[in-house]
């Protein structure tokens, strides 16, 4: 970060705001993971960090390194694409495992399996 001081004020400010916003969303997501009631509700909370949270951090990173190196840095687009493609896989795996167990144990109020599976 040796060149960070050379950034113009508007750029430093927007990078800082974007970073804080992204970190704040990740924090709110983590708080939600603690606070929300059931498993199915808790699974929603971390998606704050994996969508707009990571988005803000990535835009901040693109802005910062593009200005410091005075050329377009676009690596971060790739991170965004890979995160968007892979998070549904994890979430589906977790929720389907929970749903499967809840249906077998009959504990939590979950919908019955569709007709073709019965």
């Amino acid at each position: 970060m040796t060149h960070a001081a050379e950034l113009p004020a508007w750029a430093a400010l927007s990078v800082a705001v974007l970073l804080l916003l992204g970190a704040g969303l990740a924090l709110v997501g983590a708080v939600g993971l603690l606070r929300l009631g059931s498993f199915y509700e808790r699974v929603h909370a971390p998606t704050l960090a994996t969508t707009l949270g990571i988005g803000c951090v990535l835009v901040a990173s693109m802005l910062f390194f593009s200005l410091v190196q005075s050329r377009f840095i676009l690596h971060e687009v790739l991170i965004a694409v890979l995160v968007v493609i892979t998070t549904p896989v994890t979430l589906m795996l977790l929720t389907r495992a929970a749903l499967y167990r809840d249906r077998i144990e009959g504990k939590a109020p979950v919908p019955p399996p569709p007709r073709s599976h019965r």
């Binding site: 709110v28 949270g53 569709p114």
Partner: protein, 163 residues
Amino acid sequence: MRRFLPHPLLALFLLSAWLLLMESISPGAVVLGGVLAVGGSWTLASLASPRARLRRLTVLPGLLGDVLVEVMRSNYAVARIIVHPADGGVRRSGFIYIPLDMRAPYGLAALACILTATPGTVWVDYDSAEGTMLLHVLDLVDEAEWVHIVKERWERRLMEIFE
């Protein structure tokens, strides 16, 4: 063409990913990226996954724009629910079954990405025999409204692209 490049879209994605990582479009990077892209699409072909066909790409920019707006809106909504849990009285979360007309596998995958990328909705299950998708919604006010949102806002345009 098909035998040489079984999955042109994947090859294009791999090539652009490689060029992004290398941050150059020098002949060397393009050649190496091209070899990787062709090899990657052969690998996928040997896994016998279905081919993607893109039809009307004209609706794509509008769709991506709507996704971006919806991501921001629902991030705010879910953050508010977490920070002020008591706001707006009793909040109800729950499951809903949504009957889908789309059968294209990559269209369904794209729909899953969109629904997961908008906080507050999680794609739970999909029954390919009946074409019903099970969705979990954090703030479930009106079930019919959600069916309408998923079908009208996302599914219709994804069908135009993928089917």
